[in-house]
Amino acid sequence: MTGRYLGVDLGSTTAKAVVVDGAGEILSSSVVTMGAVSRAGMQRAVDQALREAGLTESDLHGTVSTGYGRRLVPGAGRTYTEITCHARGTAEMVPGVRLVIDVGGQDSKAITVGPDGLVQDFAMNDRCASGTGRFYEVLARAVDVPIEGLGELALRGSDDLEVSSMCATFAETEIVSMLAEDQDVADIASSVHRAIAARTLALVAQVGRHTPVVLTGGVARNPAAVHFLSRALDAVVTVPAHPQITGAFGAALLARDADRKRQVALDVPGADEMFPRARGHAPAGRDCAGCDGTNESGTLDLGIPARR
């Protein structure tokens, strides 16, 4: 597995880059926070990922870009939308996932994934910032808490305050009003998290509730966001180890799949249909046609380590 593939997710507030090898294993990844979509931020993310992998751009066998700024990524042989890439990357990280909820800086998405790991349906928030990472930033600023500490604060509060507005601008005004009423900051934070979870539930309703559920995007690192979403959905919400890079990971896998032009169904359900392979190019030892289940030594190979 000598190929090296780069996936770049140039989002609204962060740039993510992932390098994978021919087996789809992550060799390196990077997440760079930007003020807004920027070429410089994207280049830093790419440089960092390549450096960590010990590669240069000339070593790459394929690049796919995604995200708001996907067209700004030089060298990308192809672009895909975040929908396709998040589904692809998440299905690889969490096999069996049926519902991906991705909450990014400027938008949130609900994506249903088929048993084969491919997109079935999706819905995105409308143009306002409700339920997105930006909304949490507004909350953090209003209650004067670092964004990293917002989740822990919210988990300490009760959830009995009424937050009626889901417009980020009006919600800020509402939060200021609650502070002026001397409401507990933790209660305010928890109530806003609850309201955002309810908003996300409405997004999920457009594609239908499915389980298992996986939350991705930067907001997935907020434990209160996970808690309240899980409560709203009445389902376990799984967060992958690296929730921010699922889109870039999916993009890297799509670059790999396109380059291989061979059977990838064994490790990525459905990818063969997406990028049909040429006949007769299956990896050696994986094609069962004409095989009676025995290996070269004539013993039955169950694919498990032999006990000694």
């Binding site: 000339s58 066998h61 394929g62 690049t63 042989g77 192809r78 084969d116 997109v119 409308d126 459905g270």
Partner: protein, 463 residues
């Protein structure tokens, strides 16, 4: 580095718009120029909104101004700003229907004239020229179905003109479609509503006779409706020709044909125009010319037109090989059931068309019509224009999306925009959703399960 197929839009336009629509544009321009000088030529002027009452006005010898049509014209020319600013100054904010906001602004400007440069915005005074050009009304007639704003709009215009201009309102029952015998164009609800509106048209004629001071010319109405019926038939035949694969013309061509069928006089020129439209489409089929070069996807567009973006949207979809072919706004509006019109006694058929406004149906009927058109045009996906200030149109859209998915396996996307306010549109929102849907269609095609063919619509109507 491996290079895979690029998805970046090609530089060369892939649209092949119908040439004849330019002739339609000239007819429309002439119509407006004639309206602007109607008072000088001795005609009274009626402002109206909603269903196409123009044959009544034609027979009554009036000049007519359709409010939405003028707002759409301003938006199409990106000249809506001054009128909307005037409307906002009068007290109508951006949450109000942008058609009505624009037209109310026109009313304000008509009263004030364009001579008062009361804005500091550079160039605004010059751009207000067209918006201020409408001749003041001698009477109002409201004919709005399925939209309460439409009725309030003329009532407000009446107040803008100091309550000194006579007004007549035609009231339309909402077609719920929930009686046991209900169906599209059939059932007791349909019959009762048709007669109810028809009777009001008789009263409208009385009103027009009083306002004009002369007897209504029924023969002129029959003559006008004969031409309109024929134009409607030709339009339908042309629409049906677009079911061919690849499609010879697109939704955007038919959008360009809305103005002629909606408010131009019923006469031979109108019939000739739609005959020419149909002929050009047939010629394209014969010559193998498609509306979108290398058509790859066939889409349905639900929502009123985003008039600021007509050319832009036609190119955007075509760049991806997406032929938009059908939509509630063209298939299910504008004299779309010409067989209902009895030219010797056209009032009932006219009333029925006013009831058939696409915002005046219950969800069951809309579902029936949408699934029917998706099936007959071989639609791969639906694009819902979530028209920000038109709740009447957007209300049932989620239900329609779910039904298309469940019954036909057709995916949908939503994007926000508006009929006459470009500020609600954001390109990235449409772009990311559209491309994601097309990617999903590609995957489904590869997987071999795109459109669960044969399931068909599950909405059954009485025969």
């Amino acid at each position: 580095m491996t290079t895979t197929a690029p998805t970046a839009p090609t530089a060369e336009p892939r649209t092949e718009r119908l040439a004849i629509t330019r002739e339609g544009g000239r007819m429309i321009a002439d119509y407006w120029e004639d309206l602007f000088v109607a008072r000088e030529s001795g005609r009274k002027i009626v402002w109206y909104n909603g269903g196409a009452l123009n044959p009544m006005f034609q027979a009554a010898g009036l000049a007519w101004c359709h409010g939405e049509a003028f707002a759409a014209r301003l938006a199409a020319q990106r000249l809506e700003g001054p009128a909307q600013l005037a409307g906002a100054e009068y007290g109508y904010n951006a949450e109000l229907c942008s058609y009505s906001r624009t037209h109310l602004g026109c009313a304000v400007l008509t009263l004030k004239g364009s001579e008062e440069p009361d804005s500091g915005v550079v160039g605004l005074h010059d751009r207000a020229d067209l918006a201020a050009k409408l001749p003041a009304p001698d009477l109002f007639v409201n004919n709005y179905a399925g939209c309460s704003t439409g009725q309030q709009w003329d009532e407000v215009s009446y107040r803008v003109f100091g309550k000194n201009v006579p007004i007549f309102n035609v009231s339309h029952p909402f077609l719920w479609g929930n009686r046991p015998d209900a169906g599209y164009l059939v059932g007791s609800e349909w019959d009762e509503a048709s007669r109810y509106v028809r009777d009001q048209l008789v009263e409208l004629i009385d009103f027009l006779e009083v306002q004009t001071g002369r007897p209504f010319d029924y023969d002129a109405l029959s003559e006008s409706m004969t031409y309109i019926k024929r134009a409607g038939e030709l339009r339908r035949e042309g629409l049906d020709l677009c079911k061919a694969t690849p499609a010879p013309a697109t939704f955007w061509d038919w959008i360009s044909c809305i103005a002629p069928i909606n408010f131009l006089p019923g006469n031979q020129a109108l019939v000739d125009y739609f005959q020419n439209v149909k002929d050009e489409i047939q010629q394209r089929i014969d010559a193998g010319i498609s509306g979108v070069r290398d058509e790859k996807y066939r889409l349905y567009f639900d929502g009123i037109m985003n008039w600021n973006k007509l050319g832009f949207l036609s190119r955007k979809f075509a760049e991806h090989g997406a032929a938009v072919l059908a939509g509630r706004y063209i298939q299910n509006a504008f004299w779309q059931e010409p067989h209902l019109i009895d030219t010797s006694d056209p009032l009932l058929g006219m009333a029925q068309h006013y009831l058939l406004c696409p915002t005046n149906h219950g969800s069951k009927t809309l579902d029936h019509l949408t699934l029917r058109d998706c099936e007959s045009y071989g639609i791969d996906g639906i694009v819902f224009h979530s028209t920000r200030t038109c709740r009447a149109f957007t209300g049932p859209q989620r239900l329609l999306a779910r039904s298309a998915r469940d019954n036909l396996g057709i995916p949908s996307i939503f994007f926000e925009g508006d009929v006459a306010d470009a500020s609600f549109y954001k390109e990235e929102i449409l772009d990311s959703r559209l491309v994601a849907m097309l990617e999903a269609i590609d995957v489904a095609r590869e997987r071999g399960d795109h459109r669960r063919a044969g399931r068909g619509a599950e909405v059954a109507w009485p025969a």
